[in-house]
């Protein structure tokens, strides 16, 4: 087999050294009954060339997507990924390495983790960030569990305007942990209705921009919570222009890091962003890297406060997390470093301007109006005059892709279509979309 270095001679020599006469004897400890029950997969050995062909054929079954113009959003966005990113993440010293338990051999990984933690704090305005969780949804669930550990109350208030996939995962984790989820409706403007907040919460979860693309007003929210923690779910690209949640006193900030240089990849692997305040440090789940010095006083990095984690605390760990999403975190780090602060601002501006251009052109059409008045970033919802599924189907014929309106319908916004506009959408593409809408 191609990935095995031993030759037949090697195997014979090793068997002799062990004192066995056949390779089968190596498995004498497995009960014969179990071995007898075994059934193979009926899978032949195949060459690299054949397997490449098979996978390429499968990829081509997705081909309609490649030549299409995407306005799909919902937490996963079609952003331009600088070429530098995949070149760095393809370096095998990074991707074939393990978790940096031996820091002297892992300064590459650890330094990039430290950079990542710093970048997330800069974006979110928070004091400490971990080295990532699996994805935004599991990061949110972990945040809610953390808030319960700190505050002690078994109830969380969650905005109805969370992305459905965040809410589903939250519901599952809360069911298991015995936490009650209380849904908070949204106002006509599309923002979270905080007028009648329930009591006895360990946290309030708000997403901004939310599932309608609307930017929430966070000012004054923290002050209205008794001892409950304010958990804000956000889009990292939007933080190139929008005020960071940390500024408004958020206790935990969560995000999906996919927009930061990670391909859509049919939903994973993604990147869960998690940041909090220093005073909650010891309750924070996930991996952390800290700066330190070596025996000669040279600055280096190492994993820190591992006593929170499962391999030390076991059943009293803050979480059971063992992996982070390190290679994706590396991609995000290189992505942000290749943009720089100026580039990120420029990027966010392109998203903002193009989205608003499209919104204005669409709402100039008879019967089309913005579903919500509140400000938005690069995603917005539009009330449409005819069946949204019909509009969507017609646009799909022209290879223009929109999110399924049933997602918004399920959130109480029927006859509505959502558009996500990134820097990749050219004026021509935007104008083309409007032209088509004009005649549907």
């Amino acid at each position: 087999m191609r990935y095995i270095a031993n030759t037949g001679a090697d195997r014979r020599a090793m068997l002799a050294a062990i004192g066995l006469s056949s390779l089968e004897e190596l498995f004498d400890d497995i009960p014969q009954e179990v071995k007898d029950r075994f059934q193979p997969l009926e899978l032949p050995v195949q060459s690299e060339m054949e397997v490449a062909r098979i996978l390429k054929e499968l990829a081509s079954l997705n081909s309609c997507q490649q030549s299409s113009i995407s306005f799909l959003g919902g937490g996963v966005y079609d952003h331009y990924i600088p070429s530098v990113v995949s070149h760095i993440t393809s370096r095998s010293e990074f991707y074939t390495a393990y978790t940096p338990y031996q820091p002297e051999l892992s300064q590459g990984t650890l330094t990039t983790m430290f950079e990542f933690q710093t970048l997330i704090c800069e974006l979110t305005g928070m004091e400490v960030a971990n080295a990532s969780i699996y994805d935004g949804a599991s990061a949110l669930a972990e945040g809610v569990l953390m808030a319960k550990r700190i505050v002690g109350k078994g109830r969380v208030a969650a905005a109805q305007s969370l992305f459905p996939h965040y809410r589903r995962v939250l519901d599952t984790y809360c069911w298991a942990a015995g936490i009650k989820v209380i849904e908070i409706p949204y106002t006509k403007a599309g923002t979270c209705d905080l007028t009648a907040l329930p009591q006895d919460l360990s946290s309030l979860v708000i997403q901004t921009p939310n599932a309608f693309g609307v930017i929430e007003e966070l000012k004054g929210v923290k002050e209205r919570l008794a001892d409950a923690l304010l958990i804000v779910v956000t889009n990292p690209i939007s933080l190139g222009i929008l005020a960071p949640p940390g500024q408004f006193g958020a206790d935990i900030v969560i995000g999906e890091g996919q927009p930061l240089g990670i391909t859509a990849s049919f939903g994973g692997p993604f990147l869960g962003l998690f940041a909090t305040r220093e005073r909650y440090l010891r309750q924070m789940p996930g991996r952390l890297t800290a700066q330190t010095v070596d025996a000669e006083g040279k600055i280096g990095y190492t994993m820190a406060i591992q006593t929170r984690e499962q391999h030390i605390r076991r059943e009293r760990a803050t979480s059971n997390i063992c992996t982070n999403s390190q290679l994706c975190a590396l991609a995000a780090t290189v992505y942000l470093a290749s943009l720089g602060a100026d580039g990120l601002h420029e990027l966010a501006t392109l998203n903002l301007e193009k989205a608003h251009y499209l919104a204005q052109r669409i709402t100039a059409l008879p019967g089309y109006r913005l579903a919500f008045e509140a400000p938005f970033f690069n995603e917005f919802a539009v009330r449409v005059p005819i069946d949204p599924q019909a509009i969507r189907a017609r646009l799909k014929e022209e290879r223009i892709l929109l999110d399924d309106p049933r997602f918004l319908s399920a959130l109480g916004a029927p006859n509505t279509l959502r558009f996500a506009v990134t820097e990749k959408r050219t004026k021509d593409e935007l104008d083309r979309l409007v032209e088509l809408l004009e005649v549907i």
């Binding site: 010891r282 406060i305 591992q306 006593t307 030390i312 605390r313 009293r316």
Partner: protein
């Protein structure tokens, strides 16, 4: 290492210095040595009531967590706040400046069932 003879000891490597109905609690030389460099101490709030054997405090080193159990029942009247900024004091002076908590005990005679210095010494040699 000699263990202060006026203290009592538990098999979980805590020491108790009982004066009247005030019991000062800390961890032994053996415990701090096993844990290694102590980096963080979690102390109970003043006023907390504990029963003998319940978790009283937690001491963390880089690689391990030491749970400290209440050697006697009582209420926490004072904690060694200096350990917040200098947890290494426990390593340097486990029987003196590295004390953790002072309890006001409900039943001073609970100390009688604890090991004395030579009993603890013996226990260490066995293990």
């Amino acid at each position: 290492m000699t263990h202060p003879t006026q203290f009592r000891y538990t098999k979980e490597h805590e020491w108790v210095d009982l004066e009247g109905n005030h019991a000062k609690v800390g961890i032994t030389e053996h415990a701090q040595d096993k844990l290694g460099d102590i980096v963080f101490v979690e102390l109970p709030a003043v006023g907390t009531a504990v029963k003998k054997g319940e978790n009283l405090a937690t001491v963390e080193s880089v690689k391990a967590v030491g749970d400290i159990y209440a050697p006697m029942s009582g209420a926490v009247v004072e904690v060694n706040t200096q350990l917040e900024s200098s947890p290494e004091t426990i390593n340097q002076d486990p029987y003196g400046a590295g004390w953790l908590v002072i309890l006001e005990v409900s039943d001073p005679s609970e100390a009688d069932s604890l090991l004395d210095a030579s009993g603890y010494e013996q226990y260490l040699n066995e293990g």
